[in-house]
Symmetry: C2
């Protein structure tokens, strides 16, 4: 049983995500934004005033990757960096008014894309799928943090 999963999981995940990304990028391009930039913008919408480093951590990406996405969002006038009053190293991120109409359109697009991708999967299964993806993310995060040879301690969860 496990054998056939071995055969396919790793590469299938890559292919799926590549196709979903290509599709989402193409659709988002209608609004002059990419999927990666969109993810950042959506996060800033939900939690304004974050520092870049906090945002990078929450999005599980490297700060430098984020820096360049933010550059684009600023260039387009959708968000802005404001220096922190107490720590001059820090930039905090805020939405600009120009982003509002875009965010409305993107919310519709997200529903549309999700519905397309998940067509034929009922809501119960869709939820389970999402939960499993989160679990996989957690598993991999642990694996990255506990370097290879060590016993799988799973962050003392069961301790």
């Amino acid at each position: 049983m496990r054998g056939t999963v071995d055969m396919n999981f790793l590469f299938t995940l890559g292919e799926v995500q590549r196709m979903v990304r290509a599709y989402a990028d193409r659709q988002a391009a209608r609004y002059g934004i990419t999927r990666a930039q969109w993810a950042v913008l959506a996060k800033v919408e939900r939690t304004e005033g974050l520092k870049q480093s906090e945002l990078a951590e929450q999005m599980e990406m490297q700060p430098i990757t984020l820096t360049r996405l933010i550059d684009k969002l600023c260039d387009n006038g959708w968000i802005e960096r404001r220096g922190d009053e107490n720590d001059r190293r820090v930039n905090r991120l805020y939405l600009r008014k120009a982003a509002r109409p875009l965010l409305g359109k993107l919310a519709g697009l997200r529903s549309e894309l999700t519905a397309t991708a998940l067509d034929g999967i009922n809501p119960t299964d869709a939820h389970r799928l999402l939960d499993q993806l989160d679990l996989i993310k957690e598993n991999v995060r642990n694996a990255i943090q506990n370097p290879a040879g060590e016993p799988p301690r799973k962050e003392q969860r069961y301790g």
Copy 2:
């Protein structure tokens, strides 16, 4: 119900795949290969003698993306391009002997990575997950082929 799936699916998929890719790349680096190159090598192993264009189609990637991965695999002496006798535009791809030991190690690594990622998901669920990923891939492929406004015909499957 569907609302919460809307909220997360698109970006969660991206995050999961980014983490899995980072992890798989780091592990594969021990053998001097990347995950993307590995996928190509594994495909060539299973079906030697393919042309590049056929391979690109089967792997759902653009020919130019594949060209550069093949460049790397050839540079490392794991595969070789041989000109087709009947069509001088065509290169056909073959394994070289030097790839054999590597392929053995990679098979072990794949099991290990898959087991790590799927830890806590039982085989039945893992199979369902894989099936759902394939379904999503199919859905997106159809969406890309049937440009946006059209009725979703799904390739006459039910016809």
